[in-house]
Structures are given as C-alpha cells and as structure tokens.
Amino acid sequence: MADEEDESPETELSYDQKKEIAKWFLLNAPAGEINYVAKDLKAVLSDEEVYNEAAMEAFPVYNKSHMICIGRVIVSSYSEITENEYLDPRTAQVAIVDHVKQICTNVRPADDEELPSSYIEEFRCALDAEIQRYVSESYPKGVSAVNCVKGKDADGPGSNFEFVVIITAMKLSPQNFCNGSWRSVWNIDFQDESQVLDIKGKLQVGAHYFEEGNVELDAKKEFQDSTIFQSADDCGIAIANIIRHHETEYLAALEVAYSKLPDNTFKDLRRKLPVTRTLFPWQNTLQFSLTREVEKELGLGK
C-alpha cells in the first residue's frame, strides 16, 4: 500500500487507493459473509462515496465467482448475458439483478438468440434433468444449472458444442459462527469428429468457523474424464454418473484427509506429546545440562 506523495508525515490515501482497499475486502469475504464485511467496511471507511463505487465494482465479481443464487438463477460467468442479466436455461427466462442488494429486480422471457437451438436444447435438457436428480439426492441445499457456452446454434449433428454444469451448495449459520460453500464446475466438451465427450471438473469447498477464533478450510481439486458421444438421454445419464462418481470419491478423500490430521499431518507442526510420551520435565535442571550434551553429540538441532 504505497503512499502517493511525501508532502506530510501521514499522507492521506487517495480516493482510488481507498477504493482498491475496499474492493479487496469485499472480494475476499468468505462465502455468505459479504454483507457482514460490507457493514464493517462502511464503518471503517466512513466515506459513502468510496464504498458505493467499490461495491458496484466488487459485488458482481464476488457474486459470479461464488455463483450465488439470486431469485432462481445461478449468477455466474456462464449464465451471464450482460452484467446485470443472467439466463436460466431451464425456464428460458432472464433475471435482471441488483448485485449489491443481491436481489432479482425483474424477470423477462429469454429472446430466441439467447437460447440454444432445439437440437442443442435436447442434450442440455436431458443433462439438466439428470444433474437435478443427482443434486437433489446428494446435496441437501444444492442447486444446479446447465448452460451452453459454445456452439449453441448448431442445428444438427456435425458440430462441436460445450456445456458447463454448475452445482453449488451453501450453508450459512452465522448464529453458530459457521459458514460453508461447495462449488462444482464441470466443462463438457462434445466433440463431433472423435465422437467423444471431454469432461473437466473443478471442485472448490470452503468453510469458515469463527467463534472466539478464526479457522478456514480451503480445498480444491480438478478432474478429467471422458465418455462417448451418444443420444441426448444416454449422454445425460453417462455424464451425471461420471460427475457423481468423482464427487463422491472426492468427498471420501476429504474425509480421509481430515481423519489423518490429528495423528499424522498435525504432527509435522506440533506433536501431542514428546517422544517420551510424558510431559516436559521442567523442574529437572540438571537433566537439561545432560540433555544438551546429548543433543550436541547427536548433532540435533540446526
């Protein structure tokens, strides 16, 4: 945070510098906490103009990266038509949103140019249905969307197209000082020539617990898989199965990582007890001199 001029010992921050700092705080808010951060930030800044401008710039980025659900639409870069308009392909409607208030101000039917062709829609719809079924089974608070991000105007076989499947779930318990979010983004690349579907997934899980302390979980994983190009229904089922398989495995792996913590991973930071399995003998000063000799002999320490 460099100062602009050196005219006085305590230089005031410029408007732009304050705005960048404000944006940084907003963008780094954990899932579901941006409004609490906003409240504290306003108090610290005590400059409404700077805050408002920072909010106008930061909220859309935050909302899209956290893929929050406003109204019934998932706000993301994949469903974005303009900065304030987001497509819900399932209902063929476009929601107009106010990012800072995180509400839907209006809904309009989507134009034909905004929607995929009926050929593409067949695939999209089949996949959407399978994903919805999977999400309702596995995620108590999950929502999903399937957007066509490339090739949406193809009107028959012979072209490539690409879908993005989004699954997000958020659990907010501010009264228990605990918030968490799960975000899956799966890219499905339909390749006509090789008749193969290239699947790439990115999962991100976060949790924040802050009762008399502050602890955060930040976990990420990427996946790659593929399957053959089949009918719309069969593709839908195959893709959903692949996603279900990888996500279930990932969850199990996370559990393993957590279970290894107390006795393995954590030990690399601090053991629960010394190797002697007893507490440190503070009162025995003579023993220390001996220990020091031994340590030197063994060449221990740095």
């Binding site: 705080f25 968490g180 949790a207 502050n214 976990a219 991973t265 954590f266 030990k267 601090r270 503070w282």
Partner: protein
C-alpha cells in the same frame, strides 16, 4: 475499531498481513491499538555472531532494531538501547536454553526465543516465549505430509511480584497456523486459522519462575492444539458433511422414497 477487528476475523487467515496493513493505512490513528491486538506470523533474523536465528516481536524491539536473545545485541546495532537488568538477563538466558529443548521435544525443529523485561510500576516482570515452526516438506516437516505448514506461537506471561512465597502468573497464548496438503485423491486441502486464550494461576515460587511458566505454557499450548484440531477443524469437517452428506447416509434414504 470494532469494525476493523470484525473485518480481520472474516478475512482468510492467510491474508491477515495484507488485511492488517490495509486497515493501518485506512485508520492510522488506531495503529497502536491494531498492532497490539492483532498477531501476525512471526519474522526471523539471523544472529551471525551466535550463528542462530531469533524471532522478532514488539518485545525485543527498540526503534528499528531487534535484540537477539543469544548474544543480547541489537540488530542493526543501536546506541542507548533498552536491555533487561543483569539478573533478569540471567533468567532470560536460562529460559532460552530450556525452551529450546522443550521446542525440540514437541516441534522436532523450528526456532524459539524468549524475551523478558521489567515492568515499570511494580516489581514483577513480563516474559514472552515465541516459537516458529515450518512444517512443510522442504522445512522441518519430519513426515513429509505437508506441502506447506506454519505454526507460530506467542506466549506472553505477566509475572506478579513475589508475596509470601507465591506469585501471580497471567498467560495469554496465541497460536497461528496454516497447513496445506496436496495429494492425488484429495487434491489441495488447506486449513488455516488463529486462536487466543488466557490462563491465570497463583503458584508457589519454590521451584522457580521458569518451572511455573513452562508448565503453564505447556498446558495451554496442548489445550490450544487439541482445540484447533478437534473443535475448529472439526467444525469445518462437519460443515463439509452438511453440504454433502457421505454416500452411506444418502443410500439409507432411498428405500423410503
């Protein structure tokens, strides 16, 4: 000021330095409050003469120089600097030696430093015990589990004057840690956070201050480690299972629907 602390509690623990410096530039008038209430990962300097590293903190700082507990000299050199009395320095030397062994027993590596100074108004003194451990594979991580791992412990004890062979000890301990594993099945898994607690005790001085302080630190450090592991990390684990319950639970539901 409360809002500033609120912000710090919500920012990712790994970004606490950036967050603090942002707040300091926004609220220069509160800088001493902010600096005293917020702990940042510890910095280290090399004491070339003693060929050892020492930890930097407010308690061994004078102007822009820091005093090494090994040589008792300021880096960079400083004239008319503050030093503990020779009696207290003796205790400080012993504390550093013993604490280094304690540190090795629990941390199997890392760096430690102890600083002591007299309190102006009463006859007691304050001691600060610091530990910094790099537990990553490339650092002192014995088992190679961690891609990245840092543990910073700051223990500040206020020792009251001796009265009728007893003394009051007030310990404030802060632990800051972060760990990241990067394995095939679980991908990048990172946990980070900080926690602070206090402990007050009145103890007999018979076995010496070091013994009493050492035991308190050991006890509180152990409690904080367990708390971080079971409560804090445990809550994040619970949250993951709430977001996506493990498959067994889901399967049990199917027969009903």
């Amino acid at each position: 000021m409360e809002a500033a602390l609120g912000l710090l509690r919500r920012m990712p623990p790994k970004q606490s330095e950036t967050a603090l410096s942002a707040l300091l530039s926004l609220l220069p008038q509160h800088s001493s409050d902010l600096l005293s209430q917020v702990d940042l990962p510890l910095q280290v300097l090399r004491d070339a003469e003693s060929r050892k590293d020492f930890i930097l903190c407010e308690y061994n700082r004078d102007a822009d120089s820091y005093r090494s507990p090994w040589s008792n000299k300021y880096h960079p050199p400083l004239e008319d600097a503050l030093y503990p009395s020779s009696e207290l320095r003796k205790l400080e030397v012993e504390a550093n030696d013993i604490f280094a062994i304690y540190r090795d027993q629990y941390y199997e590596g890392g760096i430690s430093s102890v600083y002591m100074w007299e309190e102006d108004d009463n006859e007691g003194f304050v001691a600060c015990f610091l530990i910094k451990k790099d537990g990553s594979k490339s650092g002192h991580g014995r088992r190679g589990c961690l891609e990245e791992g840092a543990w910073d412990a700051i223990h500040v004890i206020q020792v009251g004057p001796e009265e009728e062979e007893m003394a009051q000890y007030c310990l404030t301990s802060t632990i800051m840690l972060s760990l990241t594993t990067d394995d095939e099945p679980s991908g990048k898994f990172g946990l980070s956070g900080s926690i602070r607690r206090q402990m007050k005790m009145e103890l007999a001085v018979a076995e010496g201050h070091l013994c009493n302080m050492g035991r308190m630190i050991e006890e509180l450090e152990g409690k904080l480690r367990n708390s971080l592991d079971q409560v804090y990390f445990g809550k994040t684990r619970e949250m993951v299972c709430t977001l996506r319950p493990p498959a067994e639970i889901v399967q049990m539901r199917l027969p009903d629907s």
